[in-house]
């Protein structure tokens, strides 16, 4: 482990490093995308101008960026927190869906509860849904039975199937031609939105989660214990730190954050439980956490970058006739460049 002096100087320049990474990655993105556009016969400058107008320069467009960021912040923290202990959580997708599921269950079980009771209950259920889903792999890992990369990955498949079962079956709506989705949630369970936009309270929850993550890791004894485990778990155990308990706790808390992302998408955006709540937020969160080196400020920047890129994809499909697939190529190329530069940076190797 690096010496104390190095640690403190690293910590002091975290924000600076995060900003530098953001700028570097953004610049790579701009350059690569320009090449892609040229190859597709489009004019990069007018494309960028249109993207700028419809995302950053338009108030609705900017609000949409925040909407896209919300689940990404949460799923990134879901990966970053366990990574401080050296644990790898690729189960964000599954934890997200279980969070949405649990929150929906709460809303359907107590539809007539007053808003001030129902909403916090729904949020808590969302957290618990994801937490329990991640605690299972945590327990398996703590008992040295199954590696958590494997088990979180496997549980990713099961969660959407559980959701599917309920929305094709017991929870299926009878309105809208019985399209397979749940009935709309009772109004008390819906997250409040910012007038006229789709920004919902989930954003506040996400920012709070990020703040809590930062605070716990940097300013509390728990954070120090977690990082000690991440550095050398055997030594940590000998020092009296309850490593198995921390393994379960870290994965559970991480999973809980991902569950909040699912709750947010269900209660804040969709207003009902659907099979299509997440276009891979769990995996995108993994990438964001990795690009950000697991640091909170970096996560903020990278989530924003991903939000702009995906928003640009939608805009350009309409305005330039560019297939959305190009966004995937862009993301892949950015990652490729980052990964290839001296093995990239990020959470462990």
């Amino acid at each position: 482990m690096p010496e104390a002096g190095v640690i403190s100087s690293l910590r002091n320049s975290n924000a600076a490093r995060a900003a530098a990474r953001f700028v570097a990655v953004s610049a790579i993105a701009l350059l690569v995308f320009a090449l892609v556009l040229l190859a597709a016969g489009k004019d990069p400058l007018s494309a960028y101008a249109q993207t700028f107008r419809h995302t950053l320069a338009s108030s609705y467009g900017f609000s949409e960026l925040l909407v896209r960021m919300t689940p990404l912040l949460l799923t990134a923290v879901a990966v970053a927190l366990p990574s401080r202990l050296g644990l790898i959580n690729v189960g964000g997708e599954g934890q997200l869906y279980m969070g949405a599921f649990a929150a929906s269950a709460a809303a359907f079980v107590l539809p007539n509860a007053p808003g001030w009771l129902l909403l916090p209950l729904v949020v808590l259920s969302g957290f618990l849904g994801g937490a329990i889903w991640a605690a299972i792999p945590g327990a398996l890992r703590a008992a040295k039975l199954v590696n958590e990369t494997v088990s979180t990955l496997l549980l990713n498949y099961v969660a959407p199937l559980i959701v599917g079962y309920f929305i094709f079956g017991p929870w299926r709506t009878t309105e809208n031609s019985a399209y397979p989705e749940s009935s709309t949630f009772p109004p008390g369970a819906l997250l409040p939105t910012l007038f006229g936009t789709r920004i919902h309270a989930g954003l506040l929850i996400a920012l709070a989660a990020l703040a809590v993550y930062w605070f716990v890791m940097e300013r509390t004894r728990w954070g120090i214990e977690m990082r000690a485990i991440g550095g050398n778990s055997e030594a940590a155990q000998r020092l009296g730190i309850a490593v198995p308990a921390w393994i379960v706790a870290a994965l559970a808390i991480g999973g809980g954050f991902a569950g909040l992302a699912g709750m947010g998408e269900a209660m804040g955006i969709a207003g009902k439980l659907r099979q299509t709540l997440s276009p891979g937020y769990g995996f995108t969160g993994f990438l964001i956490a990795w690009l950000a080196g697991g640091r909170p400020v970096g996560i903020l920047f990278m989530s924003f970058l991903f939000a702009i890129i995906t928003a640009a994809g939608d805009t350009l499909q309409i305005s330039q006739g560019l297939p959305y697939a190009v966004v995937n190529i862009l993301l892949a190329t950015i990652l490729f460049v980052v990964l290839a530069s001296r093995g990239g940076w990020g959470i462990g190797r």
Binding site: A20, V23, A24, S26, A27, I28, L30, L31, A34, P44, L45, S46, Y48, A49, F52, H54, S58, Y60, G61, E64, G164, F168, G169, R172, T174, N176, S177, A178, Y179, P180, E181, G196, R198, E265, I269, A270, G271, K272, R274, T276, L277, P279, A311, D314, T315, Q317, I318, S319, G321, P323, Y324, S341
Partner: protein, 358 residues
């Protein structure tokens, strides 16, 4: 820090270039935006809309068409539709069923933009609903199947089990049973509008069960028709009548859509400022068309199908009680009937259908 620095400089130069660019201004009279759940080349549902809109854009003057393909039926759809409005669309066509919520939300935000949703529901001032009434038109399709099946087992592949799909199955079975009382229709659900591998497996499963005439309600009939043709069975198409090219031997007949007249009228209304959201359901002869018969269909069957189609065109409604459902109960009591606007809420299978609704 050399490499990243170089990138940063390039990036800044590009950004600087942005400011200098003026927009080019070209004013079409009407911008139409369309959202598709799949690819417009899908030989099926999405293509029918694309073809119709392209035709309208070509026929009428001053129309610009913006299209977004492969937009999932999720929150993403709302962003895309909003994006179309931001790009100046004054008429937005939401072609897939699962876009209903998203379309309504965007419509609420932009009361000056006309929306047409392919499905059901209550129209609003700027939100219209429309669909081709394929259900009744499936009755003559059933007649063809009922007459030509040798095993008395018909197969039907459904994508997503919504009321409209159930209605299609029911009419199909009723039409077949009207000429062949022993016939039954087996239903298999794939769970998605366009899961090709599952569609192939579903068709195979039906054929394994002994079905020899297959029809479907999925976005593109191509995969199912090819699979059925490969195994030497007969098929009845849906969504696109072009698909008959895929089954030279087994194609019997089929249904397709012709949206162009409706879109042309709607576009004209929007341009004249006279758009009002309405529910427009048209059937055989208008939005729904019957495909040419396959070479293997004998003349007497063709005559029977054509006669049945004519009856439907004149207003025959097969969904009239008394009708038994497939669980031994009464789906429709005597005197009751299901109208075109209630088709979306159908939630039963008629007697003779093998399948579970929920």
């Amino acid at each position: 820090m050399n490499r990243p620095l170089r990138f940063v400089v390039c990036g800044l130069m590009l950004l600087a270039g942005l400011a200098a660019r003026p927009l080019d201004a070209q004013e079409p009279k009407l911008i139409i935006g369309a959202v598709y759940v799949g690819s417009v080349n899908d030989y099926g549902y999405n293509r029918s809309f694309h073809d119709a809109l392209t035709q309208v854009a070509g026929d009428l003057q001053g129309i610009k068409l913006l299209e977004a393909e492969n937009v999932p039926e999720s929150g993403e759809a709302e962003s895309v539709m909003e994006g179309l409005v931001q790009q100046g669309a004054k008429l937005v066509i939401a072609t897939s069923f699962g876009y209903k919520d998203s379309a309504r939300k965007v419509a609420k935000r932009h009361r000056d933009v006309a929306f047409e949703f392919a499905g059901d529901g209550d129209p609003e001032s700027n939100f219209g609903v429309f669909f081709g009434q394929t259900q009744r038109a499936m009755y003559p399709m059933g007649v063809a199947a009922g007459k030509l099946t040798r095993t008395n087992k018909l197969g039907f592949v459904i994508g997503i089990p919504i009321g409209y799909s159930l209605g299609n199955v029911n009419a199909f079975q009723m039409g077949a049973a009207s000429v062949n009382p022993k016939v039954q229709t087996i239903v298999v659900v794939t769970g998605g509008w366009a899961d090709k591998a599952k569609e192939a497996a579903a068709a195979n499963a039906l054929l394994d069960q002994g079905c020899d005439v297959i029809s479907m309600h999925v976005d593109s009939p191509a995969t199912i028709i090819r699979t059925v043709e490969d195994r030497g069975a007969m098929s009845i198409g849906f969504q696109s009548i072009e698909a008959r090219a895929l089954a030279p031997k087994g194609w019997l007949t089929g249904l397709g859509f012709n949206w162009a007249p409706f879109f042309a009228e709607t576009a004209k209304k929007v341009m004249a400022g006279k758009f009002r959201g309405e529910a427009v359901y048209q059937g055989l002869g208008q939005m729904v068309v019957v495909a040419p018969f396959g070479a293997s269909v004998p003349a007497d069957v063709q005559a029977a199908v054509t006669k049945s189609a004519e009856e439907v065109r004149k207003g025959f409604n097969p969904f009239t009680g008394p009708l038994k459902d497939n669980r031994g109960g009464l789906a429709l009591p005597p005197g009751a009937s299901v109208g075109v606007d209630q088709m979306g809420s159908m939630n039963w299978y008629v007697e003779g259908v093998v399948g579970k609704v929920r």
